[in-house]
């Protein structure tokens, strides 16, 4: 999420400390979502501070239908299926790193942590429509990066 393990560890430590301090105020149903909410907020705060340009929004204006589905560019025959390959994971990581932070957070909460959209909305304090849009855009961006490398979708 943060792209730097040192920052990530700082944020986790911060978040756990904050969670411990405000343990009494926990009144939700999912402790896991609550912890992730604290940690995600801290991570986003950290990214904002890192950027030092608070006037530029982390999340660009959303419009679901104007996103571009890039077409594969002359796939090499040897790159027909790089899914599961180490190279594909590098492409995914690079693509994730270029995403707006809140898109990345939503996508990771979905695909890595397996939260439902409603939970992600709670965690990131966003509307569920916003969550849906962020996940779609983020996943599409990763897909486009893969396709640009000659990926032609999953093998099976």
């Amino acid at each position: 999420m943060l792209g730097q393990s040192a920052d990530a560890e700082d944020v986790v430590q911060d978040a756990l400390l904050a969670a411990w301090r405000s343990l009494g105020s926990f009144e939700g149903t999912s402790f896991r979502a609550w912890i992730f909410r604290i940690a995600t907020n801290r991570a986003l705060d950290r990214l904002r501070a890192r950027r030092r340009r608070p006037e530029s929004p982390l999340d660009p204006p959303l419009g679901d239908d104007d996103v571009i589905w890039s077409e594969p560019s002359a796939p090499g025959p040897e790159l027909v299926d790089i899914a599961g390959d180490r190279e594909a994971l590098v492409v995914v990581e690079t693509a994730l790193a270029t995403l707006p932070a809140e898109q990345r957070a939503s996508l990771l909460l979905r695909d890595v942590e397996g939260f439902a959209y409603e939970e992600i909305a709670l965690i990131t304090t966003a509307e569920i429509g916003t969550v849906k849009s962020r996940i779609h855009r983020a996943r599409l961006a990763v897909r486009n990066a893969l396709v640009a490398k000659g990926w032609q979708g999953p093998a099976g």
């Binding site: 393990s5 990530a8 560890e9 986790v12 430590q13 756990l16 679901d64 239908d65 996103v67 589905w69 899914a83 599961g84 594909a88 994971l89 995914v92 990581e93 994730l96 996508l107 990771l108 979905r110 695909d111 890595v112 439902a116 959209y117 849906k132 849009s133 996940i135 779609h136 996943r139 599409l140 990763v142 897909r143 893969l146 396709v147 990926w151 979708g153 999953p154």
Partner: protein, 233 residues
């Protein structure tokens, strides 16, 4: 119209039932949308397959100090507490024995002019006793008093208040038979000063209790320093 914008939500099962059915029907007949859904599914699978990040260091700061430090700190703290207890106990004992003997023999203050006092102890002691007659509360005694007391047997030339205290203590025991006249000593000018400097005599039980307090403070400082070192590392 292709439901591109809903494909991710469809994949995640996050669409309302009605919309879900619509997209499902469209997918059945649309090759493009089916291919894109498969790509999104593959993408999500790749993201899920990203290697887990493990913290490179413990989230609890690693302690890189010598292993003996923590036990030493604990021992110092315990020793400090024990010294405080010994201090309290010896203080209590000393004050208890003071009050018991104090009634029988009131404490005597002696002038500080030690060389002369060694010549005519009895007179000096008697005079001071007459002038002050202070039974003496269990006032704080300097930490150097034990040594002064131990050397009190020989009439050393050190003109200190502590020495005179010890001497007067001895006098009380040795020379009370020789009833000296309570005359005002010839060293009149030194009288008030001597009274001011003198400390009420009292029986001693081992080293001074204040020595134990000193030990306690020393151990406490050691424990504190070690604790800070342990915490910052």
């Amino acid at each position: 119209m292709h439901p591109f914008a809903d494909l991710s939500a469809y994949l995640d099962g996050a669409l309302p039932d009605e919309r879900r059915a619509e997209v499902g029907r469209h997918l059945a007949g649309c090759e493009i949308c089916s291919a894109r859904l498969a790509e999104l599914r593959g993408t999500a699978r790749l993201i899920a397959g990203l290697p887990d990040v493990h913290p490179s260091r413990s989230l609890v700061p690693r302690v890189s100090v010598p292993v003996w430090m923590a036990p030493l700190r604990t021992l110092s703290a315990i020793a400090s507490g024990a010294a405080v207890l010994v201090f309290a106990a010896s203080t209590l004992l000393a004050s208890a024995s003071l009050t018991s003997t104090g009634s029988g023999a009131p404490a005597v203050a002696a002038p500080a002019a030690a060389p002369q006092a060694s010549l005519d102890r009895a007179r000096g002691a008697g005079g001071a006793a007459a002038s002050t007659a202070a039974p003496g509360p269990a006032g704080p005694q300097d930490a150097s008093s034990p040594s002064a007391q131990f050397s009190a047997a020989s009439p050393a030339p050190a003109p200190s208040a502590n020495r005179s205290v010890a001497e007067s203590d001895r006098e009380k025991r040795l020379d009370t038979s020789t009833t000296a006249p309570p005359a005002v000593a010839e060293k009149g000018p030194t009288g008030p000063e001597a009274v001011a400097l003198s400390v009420p005599a009292r029986p001693q039980l081992g080293p001074s209790p204040w020595l134990w307090l000193l030990v306690a403070v020393a151990f406490a400082v050691l424990a504190f320093v070690l604790q800070r070192r342990l915490r910052t590392s």
